[in-house]
């Protein structure tokens, strides 16, 4: 066991865990944040996506100790004070979420994409989300939701 200190959604926590435990399991089992999902467990599906120091990563492929000292943001950290983030709101309104398993990862990947390119083209949206698989929506509604989110995130935040 090793001590791992990280900042999770703005709060600093110290946990004892095996250093090679997957960050995904640390988040779900030790931090009890179950919004982050496991699909494939091998980097292919993106349902375990989180932001680590602002970068999109698959938490199933990150050894816990490599997250020592890192800032981690999960889906639980995306909404503020119980209010949905505009990206979440757009996924709801446009039917971008159905069963919901891929949704936390999709939203974090969208967040990362809009930080990089505030006005992405459809091609950039497709590339940005290519690592996130969805078995329900057929993707079109997800791309619609992202396009709506582009407009929303550009308006002043007090709307």
């Amino acid at each position: 066991m090793t001590q791992i200190t990280l900042t999770i959604n703005g709060e600093t926590k110290t946990i004892e865990a095996p250093p090679m435990k997957r960050l995904l399991d640390l988040i779900r089992e030790d931090l009890h944040l179950t919004g982050t999902k496991e699909g494939c467990g091998e980097g292919e599906c993106g349902s375990c996506s989180v932001l680590m120091n602002g970068e999109l990563v698959n938490s199933c492929l990150v050894p816990a100790l490599q997250a020592n000292g890192a800032r981690i943001c999960t889906i639980e950290g995306i909404s503020t004070k119980g209010r949905l983030h505009p990206i979440q709101q757009c996924f709801l309104e446009r039917g971008g979420a159905q069963c919901g398993i891929c949704t936390p990862g999709m939203i974090l990947a969208t967040h990362h994409l809009l930080e990089k390119y505030p006005q992405p083209t459809l091609l950039q949206i497709q590339e940005g989300l290519a690592g996130n698989l969805c078995r329900c929506t057929g993707y079109t509604r997800i791309f619609d939701a992202v396009q709506q989110a582009i407009l929303k995130t550009q308006q002043p935040t007090n709307n």
Binding site: P18, M20, K21, R22, E42, L56, Q66, A130, G131
Partner: protein, 287 residues
């Protein structure tokens, strides 16, 4: 079945020097882990044989891009995202930025490193044909010594390299000699993005007075390791791009490759596709 993580040890020494000391000590053997996009998949599948790992992911000494007017040096910890962002790579070494953009998803590119791609030594690795075409040099370090070798001699066979257990890949150096070359890179996989390649080609060529003055062709998935198609290059040297030249090059390519049959494709298909890619490049080169 998934492995139990408590059976594994992982340490994160603060400096490169301390990592090299651990690799050289008799406490090992230790396996370095960088972005973990290979090793964590192996762990998940229950086939990570080594029990002791040392993290090199946090070492700033291995994550840098340094340019001089003549050379570009990439720390082994350079991620695919770093490669895609760099302006010098985009202009002088576009084969490498293209390969980086193919290497799995954005999340994979944010973690996976060029060093991991090289040392993992998969015959299908996407960035390696480009390194062969650019005649990259590798610098290997250990507590005892530093050595610089041509990348072309690094792979010994399927997932085998000349790296010693106490050594790390430190950096990759490329000469900035390719401004006047035509660049060609193409990967053929099951899908456009996010699929391991069935075949990939990275090639450079320079023409003079209608003749091929210099051509370099790197290829993935055509042998047990990434290869340079030297026999094919020889056939093309000093030739005009005619139907006969193309036929001779296709024949040479087929004779010097020994693609494998595997779950992703057949040898026959791979050789035929590689020859088609080469032909596409030659057509593009025509004055």
């Amino acid at each position: 079945m998934r492995s139990n993580p408590s059976h594994y040890e992982l340490t994160t020494p603060a400096t490169l020097e301390a990592v090299l000391d651990i690799l050289a000590s008799d406490l090992g053997p230790y396996t370095p882990i960088a972005g973990g996009t290979e090793l964590m998949v192996a762990l998940g599948a229950g086939r990570l044989a080594t029990r002791k790992l040392v993290s090199i992911n946090h070492l700033q000494e291995l994550r840098f891009i340094a340019t001089t007017p003549e050379t570009l040096t990439l720390g082994s910890g350079t991620t695919f995202t770093d490669l895609r962002k760099d302006p010098v790579i985009a202009t002088d070494f576009s084969l490498l930025s293209q390969a980086a953009s193919w290497t799995g998803s954005i999340a994979n590119q944010n973690r996976g490193t060029l060093g991991g791609n090289i040392v993992n030594a998969s015959p299908a690795a996407d960035s390696l044909p480009a390194l062969l075409a650019y005649e990259a040099e590798l610098t290997l370090v250990s507590a005892r010594a530093t050595r610089t070798i041509p990348y072309a001699g690094f792979h010994l066979g399927y997932k085998k390299t000349i790296l010693r257990p106490d050594e790390l890949l430190h950096s990759i150096t490329l000469k900035r000699d390719f401004r006047e070359y035509a660049h060609y890179a193409r990967k053929v996989g099951t899908r456009n993005a996010q699929a391991i390649s069935k075949v990939a080609i990275a090639a450079l060529a320079r023409l003079k007075d209608g003749l091929i003055q210099d051509i370099r062709i790197g290829a993935a998935s055509l042998r047990d390791r990434p290869i340079r198609l030297t026999a094919t290059e020889r056939v093309l040297q000093n030739q005009p791009i005619t139907r006969e030249t193309i036929a001779a090059a296709r024949a040479a390519l087929t004779s010097e490759t020994q693609p494998i049959d595997d779950i992703r494709s057949t040898a026959k298909y791979r050789a035929a596709v590689a020859a088609n890619l080469l032909e596409e490049f030659l057509h593009q080169l025509k004055p």
